[in-house]
């Protein structure tokens, strides 16, 4: 049946169409009555509401998640701040109102107008922030004169507060206002213009957890914008709290010891990779960034020669110096070029390829074994070991130990460091590898570069028997009711490329370096705790043999960097530390004492469950 021909069919068709027309008519009558109801019966009422533009939406800021240390001490809090806002539509003569306001709170007229101009047009009903965080005095004046200031109101909103200023600043990070470009991306669905988002450190990396969710309120306002009635409210949801692995007390001690120096301290729990300390000095006050840092302060930070905006624990790369001998020893033992009994003779120098390579001890170490060589940091022993192993094999062990690549800490801009190979040099400089260069590499000078965090992860692995952990900062993420949202378990990233025998030899050498009679770090020995560690002095400037100047006469910026890496107690370590002091000259005298102080403080705490059963 593709066409209707019979009369009966035509009638049927007509009936269907009449039915459809009636349905449409019915719907249109319904729509018309609804229109009439809104526009005639309730017309007056709605006209009234529209005249006052009375029903508005007010956004309620959520409070950002809190950050705690491993002992549940609060590190980052929120405090109420009084923010001065204006709704242009209600303000009447905007300029006159602003002028009056400026006089009341002693803020230049121009400064207040600037924020209005920045907001642009198209926002007459949306509140514009004039000034964040006004003082109590300013608040009192504005409140007292509120009837002279139409359209001006004060919102009490939560603002970030870093309780310990400058403490763990690089780790915790800071906030900054979101810009219009970021608002356009859909990365921050809950953020509005004028809000702050994490810009650096944990604040940035955990933004989605910390942020929370905005609430809002439908309100009815009077002609000058004051709220008469709250129609409906949706409460904001606070952001999730972070529990860090950081130990606040230890962190503060480390920062205090670094105070007048430039450098970094990293302390790790060797059993799980927990970051106990991650300090970088000089530091900055995160509170300065809230509500926008002033141009002057920002420039001061940027041009400070100590580079406070760089997290030296993960972003600064240094030659590992003698701490690298751990790797050279490991490689030579594993490759069976030496064993525990192999000795080398050190006359204070090595003549290799028509060049003299000096040992740091110009009188020489005499006949020396690998354990003694680690203890006394004999360069000649490791020159010889390095020659036997070769640069590429050395690099293979270094990479296996986690050097030359990111540790995977959840912070931005972590540096890779550099472990040179002959192929790398060919590519980078278009030159072949010189055999003599292997000698520098073997004692951690030359092209080698590592970060303090990499060395901490490495020494922790030596201490715990060979397991490399990914550094963990955030242990758990909890919601406002304490419910665990996310738990980060310790994460093993690999194992040291060394057998138990090899590691035992290396560990023995490290123990002797502190506890032995001729150990390079014997001065930091503690009475009741055995420490195993390695010092290092990274050359910044090579002194020529005929140079008459003594080290101490050198300009600060040319002085050597001081390293110390260690773990304690030597048998069953609960803490592994890496210290780097820029231009600190000697690992044993500037870096090692910092580590000792941390060990003393940490191990005396009753916290260590392994020693004191629960």
């Amino acid at each position: 049946m593709t066409e209707f021909s019979k009369k009966q069919d035509r009638d049927w068709k007509k009936q269907r169409f009449i039915g459809a027309s009636v349905c449409i008519l019915f719907v249109f009558i319904l729509l018309f009555f609804r229109l009439a109801y809104l526009q005639i019966i309730r017309g007056e009422e709605y006209r009234d509401l529209s005249k006052k533009n009375a029903v508005r939406l007010k956004s309620i800021k959520s409070s950002r998640g809190l950050i705690f240390d491993r002992n549940k001490k609060l590190l980052v809090d929120n405090r109420p701040s009084f923010n001065l806002k204006i709704v242009l539509e209600d303000a009447g003569e905007v300029k006159a109102t602003i002028k009056k306001l400026g006089q009341f709170i002693a803020v230049p007229f121009q400064e207040l107008m600037e924020s209005i101009e920045q907001a642009g047009n198209g926002a007459v009903y949306n509140p514009i922030t004039l000034k964040n965080d006004i003082s109590r005095d300013q608040l009192a004046i504005v409140e007292a004169h509120k009837f002279d200031l139409p359209g001006i109101h004060i919102d009490i909103e939560p603002t970030r507060y870093y309780i310990y200023k400058k403490t763990a600043a690089h780790l915790l990070g800071y906030l900054g206002q979101i810009n219009s470009k970021e608002l356009k991306t859909e990365k921050y669905p809950n953020v509005k213009s004028g809000d702050s988002i994490g810009r650096y450190g944990i604040e940035k990396q955990f933004e989605t957890y910390l942020q929370g969710k905005r609430g809002g309120r439908q309100v009815e306002v009077d002609s000058s914008g004051r709220i008469i009635k709250i129609l409906r409210t949706i409460d904001p949801v606070a952001g999730f709290d972070l529990n860090l692995t950081l130990d606040l007390d230890l962190q503060q001690t480390a920062e205090k010891l670094l105070e007048d120096k430039a450098g970094a301290v990293v302390a790790i729990d060797p059993e799980n990779g927990d970051i106990l300390v991650l300090a970088s000095n000089p530091s900055f006050d995160q509170n300065d960034f809230i509500g926008g840092i002033s141009q002057k302060k920002w420039e001061a930070l940027l041009f400070d020669p100590g580079k406070p905006m760089i997290n030296k624990a993960i972003q600064a790369e240094y030659p590992p110096a003698s701490t690298y001998k751990i790797i050279t020893a490991m490689a030579a033992l594993e490759e069976k070029h030496i064993n525990i009994n192999t000795t080398a003779y050190c006359p204070g120098f090595l003549d290799y390829g028509n060049r003299i390579y000096r040992c740091w001890n110009k009188h020489g170490h005499g006949n020396i074994s690998v354990i003694q060589a680690i203890e006394q940091s004999c360069d000649v022993f490791f020159y010889q070991a390095g020659i036997k192993v070769g640069v590429d094999k050395l690099a293979q062990y270094a990479t296996g130990c986690g050097l030359g690549k990111k540790t995977g800490i959840v912070l931005e801009n972590e540096k890779n460091g550099l472990i040179p190979t002959s192929a790398w040099k060919k590519k980078r400089y278009r030159e072949s590898w010189q055999r003599g260069e292997t000698l520098s590499i073997a004692i951690g000078q030359g092209y080698n570069l590592v970060t303090p965090l990499q060395m901490a992860v490495l020494i922790a692995a030596v201490g715990n028997g060979g397991t490399l952990y990914r550094p963990r900062i955030v242990k758990t993420i909890k919601d406002g009711h304490g419910l665990v949202i996310k738990k980060n378990e310790p994460e093993i990233t690999g194992g040291l490329p060394a057998s138990k025998e090899t590691l035992d030899i290396v560990r023995n050498g490290l123990l002797k370096a502190v506890q032995g009679g001729r150990g390079t770090a014997r001065r930091i020995r503690l009475k009741n705790i055995e420490i195993a560690g390695k010092t290092g002095t990274a050359q910044v400037y090579g002194i020529k043999k005929d140079d008459k100047r003594e080290l101490k006469d050198l300009k600060y910026s040319l002085r050597d960097h001081a390293w110390f890496v260690c773990y304690a107690p030597a048998k069953n370590p609960v803490i592994a530390i890496s210290v780097l002091v820029e231009h600190g000259e000697h690992g044993s005298s500037t870096a090692a004492p910092i580590a000792r102080a941390l060990i003393e403080q940490y191990i005396q705490l009753p916290l260590i469950k392994k020693i004191l059963p629960e």
């Binding site: 593709t2 005639i40 009903y125």
Partner: protein
């Protein structure tokens, strides 16, 4: 080759109605974009809409060239093409407002779900034109139409665009009811729906439930949809009998109605022209729909008749849902008001529909 009767039979009256609605639409849009706002982007959108309408007109003319009976022959091809577009939107689509609805072709953004509506109507008309009977369709004859609906529905709901998906079902359902379904079948289907609905509901996740509840009751979301409805009602109500005058609307300006040039555009008309203005638009739409039904009724070809009915239904549901929504009678769905709301895909789709109606109307001779 060219049949003179085509010119003689051309439906000038319907064409005039289309122009009338288009002109009213542009007038309201101009006000919606201009009132209280001086930024340049306003004029850009208005110009864009003019361009879309011009393009739509050309598309409409092209459609007039083809005999609508040919659509019957290639209906499955059109259907498959649109389903292909829907699949590619899920894969390559542009993200906007949390869903993938648009496909970027060159520098034009198209919304395949809009074109799908027409394709589905053509296919259903083709199927029903052979299976229609006075006693109504039985289960067996409903299998093919059901599959034809299910495929695009699932694809669109996955974008996710629940509103357009449901609109598709409403259109298909109306056509099916119009061609008549056996009473027994109708009862059984209603029964099945009643029984399975609670089961489906309990199978949904909490956030899905809350999304659907907000969809049905905007007041559950007082900061989003609920707020729009309040502002829209204030705008409409405050227009009263005669309105505040062209470009004099205060509610439509700025921050009050975020969607005032697209989905909530009727509130601009109602505010500025009052009950008089908005009932005139209602009346014009009503005449337009009756005209569409008349075209369907007069068509002697069964495929053409059902097709014309389907297109008219499509326009009807858009009008009803949109106007119902801005007045707080319907859930808040992103359904534009035909030829009035700003939006290229909607203009083109509707123009294609009008083209088909005109096409059927002027070829109504044997």
């Amino acid at each position: 080759m060219f049949d003179r009767r085509l010119i003689k039979n051309f439906d000038w009256g319907f064409m005039a109605l289309i122009f009338l609605i288009g002109t009213i639409g542009l007038g309201i849009l101009y006000s919606a974009l201009t009132a209280g706002n001086e930024t340049i982007s306003v004029h850009v959108l208005f110009k864009k809409q003019m361009i879309w309408m011009g393009a739509g007109f050309i598309v409409m003319m092209i459609i007039l060239m083809i005999d609508f009976r040919d659509l019957d022959k290639i209906n499955l091809f059109i259907y498959a093409f649109c389903v292909g577009l829907l699949i590619s939107v899920l894969i390559f689509g542009q993200l906007g407002g949390g869903s993938r609805r648009w496909l970027l072709i060159g520098f034009v953004r198209i919304q395949p779900s809009e074109l799908m509506k027409i394709a589905l109507i053509i296919s259903l008309a083709s199927v029903y034109s052979t299976s229609i009977s006075q006693t109504g369709l039985n289960f067996r004859k409903l299998i093919k139409p059901a599959i034809l609906c299910a495929i695009p529905f699932v694809l669109i709901v996955n974008q996710p665009d629940l509103g357009t998906g449901l609109l598709l079902l409403l259109i298909a359902g109306s056509i099916t009811l119009f061609v008549k379904v056996e009473r027994k079948v109708l009862y059984i289907i209603s029964g099945i729906c009643l029984v399975t609905a609670p089961l489906l509901w309990s199978g949904l996740k909490t956030y899905q439930k809350s999304r659907i509840l907000t969809f049905l009751d905007p007041d559950r979301d007082p900061l989003g949809a609920g707020y729009h409805i309040i502002q829209s009602k204030i705008a409409i109500g405050s227009g009263m009998l005669t309105g505040k005058g062209f470009l004099k609307g205060t509610q439509n300006a700025l921050s009050f109605l975020p969607e005032h040039h697209t989905d909530f555009i009727l509130s601009v008309l109602a505010e500025e022209w009052g009950l008089m203005g908005s009932s005139i638009l209602l009346l014009v739409y009503f005449i337009f729909l009756l005209w569409g039904l008349n075209i369907a009724y007069n068509c002697r070809n069964m495929f053409g008749s059902i097709l014309a009915f389907g297109i008219t239904t499509m326009i009807f549901w858009q009008i009803f849902i949109n106007i119902g929504m801005v007045m707080g009678l319907m859930p808040v769905v992103g359904v534009p008001l035909p030829l009035v709301s700003y939006g290229g895909s909607s203009v083109i789709t509707n123009m294609v529909g009008f083209g088909i109606l005109l096409n059927i109307s002027m070829r109504n001779f044997s």
